[in-house]
């Protein structure tokens, strides 16, 4: 029993070492740390939006025309929009919906894509692979934005359908990634040996092959959070995503753009907010790639 505890301890020590080495590689570029801090701040602000924003009631269908179109000031950091709502409050709430959209999209598309990729890669050379990868090709044959827009439009445009539409155009990228890795991992000796010892296919796929794909998967996931948010903002900008009065970041940019150049703050600040969050996710994703870089060799 004692030796077992020691073994567990040793395993954790190795893991800790790997983790701290990863953090060392991650933090070598200060920009990566900045990205992480910005992301944490955005996440915290979005999570606590109803408690920390100055005017939480402005997130919904609130109007106060006496305060409409005010420029940025101490009371309204980002000014107010055309019906008198605080733009800062709505940007924080916009982050809340954006992050929710990113999480839901990845929660739907990653498991589907990974599963398809694992099965197609493991069964490469059979008709299962052909069918699965051809279906993947079909979903990849139009740009993801166009497919998502078309699907969102044919369903009724709202936040939920936007999430669904983006997921439909997103999973094939994951099945491509995992497929490629599984095909090469399958040929390695540890998988061959497991097959010979009679390990079940589920065990081989989920406990042996999948953990070996985690590095690139996590990196892509982080980068994709940013791109999913970008696509959500794009859909709502066009009018095919979150509908007013929901404070979608894209919706705010579109509504504000009608009042350029006079009331520039109601469109420029939400636009900068979108750029900021995508940039932060990109920085963190690049950092993760650096952190995992040597582990793969």
């Amino acid at each position: 029993m004692n030796s077992r505890a020691e073994a567990t301890l040793a395993v954790w020590q190795v893991r800790w070492k790997g983790l701290s080495r990863g953090w060392y590689r991650y933090s070598r570029n200060p920009l990566h740390v900045v990205g992480l801090v910005v992301l944490l701040l955005i996440g915290l602000a979005a999570g606590l939006a109803p408690y920390i924003t100055p005017y939480p009631e402005h997130a919904g269908p609130y109007t106060n025309f006496r305060e409409a179109g005010l420029p940025p000031s101490k009371a309204h950091w980002f000014g107010t929009d055309r019906v008198g709502r605080d733009v800062f409050t709505r940007v924080i709430f916009g982050y809340r919906f954006s992050l929710l959209l990113g999480i839901v999209v990845l929660a739907i598309s990653v498991p589907v894509g990974v599963l398809v990729g694992l099965i197609a890669g493991y069964k490469s050379g059979t008709w299962i692979e052909t069918v699965l990868m051809r279906v993947t090709d079909i979903f990849l044959s139009v740009p993801p934005l166009v497919l998502a827009m078309a699907v969102a439009a044919m369903l009724t445009p709202n936040l939920f359908n936007a999430m669904l539409a983006i997921s439909i155009s997103w999973w094939p990228w994951y099945s491509r990634l995992i497929y490629g890795m599984t095909v090469s991992l399958r040929e390695q000796y540890f998988v061959r040996e497991l097959e010979l010892t009679g390990a079940s296919k589920t065990h081989i796929l989920l406990r042996e092959i999948l953990p070996n794909c985690l590095g690139p998967l996590l990196t892509k996931l982080t980068l994709d959070m940013g791109f999913a948010i970008l696509m959500g903002a794009t859909l709502s900008f066009v009018g095919l995503g979150a509908q007013p009065p929901t404070p979608g970041l894209g919706t705010m940019v579109a509504e504000g753009a009608k009042r350029l150049p006079a009331e520039w703050w109601s469109t420029i600040f939400p636009a900068l907010a979108i750029v900021g969050v995508i940039l932060a996710f990109n920085l963190v994703g690049d950092g993760l790639r650096d952190a995992f870089a040597e582990e793969e060799v």
């Binding site: 044959s141 139009v142 740009p143 699907v151 369903l155 066009v238 940019v253 995508i278």
Partner: protein, 339 residues
């Protein structure tokens, strides 16, 4: 090579068939009656019933799909609810404006991207290189509609350097439509003033479309340049006293053509989808804005047609790029012949 092209063509056709099945399926399972939508609320139940029979809506799904596919192959994409005209006619009207915009954007991104890439690769680690890297990082992360709004705001509305939205000012007569490209049509009509105005209107939207690609192409040219710069034969050229400009353009830039063409092919899909947003911001009367309007008014026939046309274009461009690469890069050609 011919075998390879035929093989790729067959693959593309299969994928396109799959795409048509997918998009037609979604269009039929969504709630709502296409016949009722086409006739409006005032039509009687009898009229709707007749149109349903005409559109084969009363038959099973695969029979519907068969009839639809046959008419698509005959060039009939159905009638648009939004413009009340055949979709094919609409596409013919709106496509040239988008092609003109995308060609301009490609031209800009090639010229500017290559120049930036060469400069920042050649003067590596200088202030220019650092600035270019920051700008390209931000350029990739900024959504095209934000870039478009920002450029419109700064250059048109604040500084007044560029015209506003649209292809031509409302007061200006369009030249007779021959190709649909305003720049070409006005040249043919001998109206140089219109050509100039049309180009001015093209600049901002084309730039907004090009910025993300400038960043991408610049980065690739830069890294390829740095790669090649360390090769011995470049040093030999320099030692022999060949002028730096000649070394750059004749020997350094050549190897970066293949990755640039590859990326251009991959980027084409993104250029096309970004055109959707730029056209919305600049009220560009093109294919993408027609598509967005069709989507907003839930015009099923037009949406299906738009997706199919885009799928077809992307497939053709990818094929073209692969063939071009095979001609540019002998190693690819040989590998394909073997495999």
């Amino acid at each position: 090579m011919v075998v390879y092209i035929v093989k790729r063509l067959l693959q593309s056709i299969l994928v396109l068939l799959g795409l048509s099945l997918l998009i037609f399926f979604i269009a039929r399972v969504v709630p709502g009656d296409p016949a009722r939508a086409a006739l409006g609320n005032l039509a009687t139940e009898e009229q709707v019933e007749r149109l349903r029979a005409e559109m084969h809506l009363d038959k099973p799904f695969f029979v519907q799909y068969y009839y639809w596919l046959v008419s698509v192959l005959h060039g009939d994409l159905g009638r648009s609810l939004y413009t009340q005209r055949p979709v094919t006619e609409d596409l013919m009207q709106f496509l040239p404006a988008t092609v003109e915009l995308m060609l301009f954007a490609t031209l800009i991104s090639l010229v500017v991207g290559q120049t930036m890439g060469v400069l920042s690769g050649y003067f590596r680690n200088s202030w220019f290189d650092g600035m270019f890297r920051v700008v390209s990082y931000v350029g990739v992360a900024t959504p095209p509609f934000v870039i478009a709004i920002f450029l419109l705001f700064v250059f048109s509305q604040l500084l007044g350097l560029a015209p506003g939205v649209g292809r031509l000012p409302l007061t200006m007569m369009e030249p007779t439509r021959i190709t649909g490209f305003l720049v070409l049509d006005s040249l043919i009509a001998g109206r140089l003033d219109v050509t100039l105005v049309a180009i001015k209107h093209l600049l901002l939207p084309a730039f907004s479309l090009a910025i993300a690609h400038i960043a991408q192409e610049g980065r690739i040219t830069r890294s390829s340049l740095i790669d090649v710069q360390q090769k011995d034969y470049i040093l030999a050229h320099q030692v022999h006293g060949i002028r730096p400009a000649k070394v750059i353009f004749k020997y350094l830039l050549k190897p970066s053509i293949v990755p640039t063409v590859t990326v251009m092919g991959m980027d084409f899909a993104f250029l096309l989808s970004n055109a959707f947003l730029v056209e919305v911001v600049f009220m560009w009367p093109g294919f993408s804005r027609y598509a967005v309007n069709a989507m907003l008014s839930k015009d099923l026939n037009a949406i299906v047609a738009v997706v199919l046309v885009i799928g077809l274009t992307v497939a053709l461009v990818n094929l073209l790029v692969d063939v071009t690469i095979a001609f540019l890069d002998p190693t690819v050609r040989i590998r394909r012949r073997g495999g």
